[in-house]
Symmetry: C2
DNA sequence: CCAAATAATAGAACCTGTTACAACTTTTGG
DNA sequence: CCAAAAGTTGTAACAGGTTCTATTATTTGG
């Protein structure tokens, strides 16, 4: 049941190959046969690890957020108000995602396109995002229990952020509008 | 350049066929060959009108919002506060969409999956949504110019609503959570 | 009304995600 | 160490979105 080192490496290679292809050509360029080839595994193996292209790309997004989350875990987040701290985290992550537009496009579109069968991976992404925002609000790495109201606010902020990324990914809006959207939402939802 | 009555009818038949299939089986059940058959047109004709399955389904969403918008245009929206009025419109539309879960799933997923080539249709949907919310805020059918801040707030509300629909469409959340999400966002963004 | 342009049709072909399967390799429990 | 189980491979086949083409209406400008 648990995975051997060889299996972890295989999984990494597949994810890495997918992200490389995505970074170069976006969603459409991530072709399952090519991912398998580049990762040096058989097509069937790729499908054993990731039941579909969407699973694969959402897993990639999750791993990307894992990094982002790790950063916020290391040290307290700077900023005097919850607003400032949340913006610091989200704007920072946004900028980092925007450095690889095609990769972001691929992952975000997969995330939004995902159906019920991808629930596990989707919730993983959602949970990571929730924890990041919760920490930013609290201002410290340890997560005090969020109230129901706080949880709802966090969900709204996460929704706005993902939607803004979608709009950016498909060319509807520019980088500055993404930041603007988040800023409005955060400012109004988390008044100083 | 302009379209003849026959063409409008053809377009309607194709949209209707797509929506029927979607209503019965969701996104996957909308198969282009079958849409063409059911609409009584050749596959090539379907593609002449709608360059892709996503275009087709986003156009369907747009037509659905057109109805919703028409309703809000007819009479002033009831409710004492902007919050009440916006909730009335959005919750009402949500309930109506939820009566055909599979159709909604198909349209919403297409909308979120859409790439840059669908920009026109996407903006149409966005504009309709924006106008509806703006009217609900204003409380009357005539649209006073929205301030920049109002526009940003409207965008955030629309984002939250679409995200909530996505979560509902793929089974992550139930009907009540959709309403809850919107309510939190609207309450905080549009304090009485 | 006619010729050119435009639209529609039927059908095959193509591409890529997904599935199926038979042979082979690695891991695991005893 | 061995047999069973689980994992991997390579390849073929299938499915549905999309493209292409030759042919046949239909529309339109003169």
């Amino acid at each position: 049941m648990s995975s051997s080192p060889a299996q972890r490496e295989r999984r990494d290679r597949m994810l890495k190959a997918a992200m490389k292809l995505a970074a170069e050509g976006g969603y459409d360029a991530v072709q399952m046969r090519e991912v398998a080839d580049d990762a040096g595994v058989a097509l069937g193996t790729l499908y054993r690890y990731f039941p579909s292209k969407v699973h694969l790309l959402v897993a990639a997004l999750s791993s990307r957020f894992e990094q982002a989350e790790a950063i916020t875990e290391r040290r307290p987040i700077l900023g005097d108000t919850a607003h400032e701290r949340v913006m610091k985290i989200l704007a920072g992550t946004t900028v980092s995602l925007q450095k690889q537009p095609q990769l972001t496009e691929a992952m975000v579109r997969a995330f939004m396109f995902a159906d019920a069968s991808v629930l596990g991976e989707i919730e993983q992404v959602g949970d990571r995002l929730t924890r990041m925002i919760a920490r930013a609000i609290a201002g410290s790495p340890d997560h005090g229990e969020a109230t129901e109201e706080e949880a709802a606010i966090i969900r709204v902020i996460a929704d706005v952020w993902m939607s803004a990324l979608v709009a950016w990914a498909n060319g509807r809006s520019g980088a500055s509008e993404v930041e603007k959207s988040i800023d409005v939402a955060v400012r109004l939802l988390l008044p100083d």
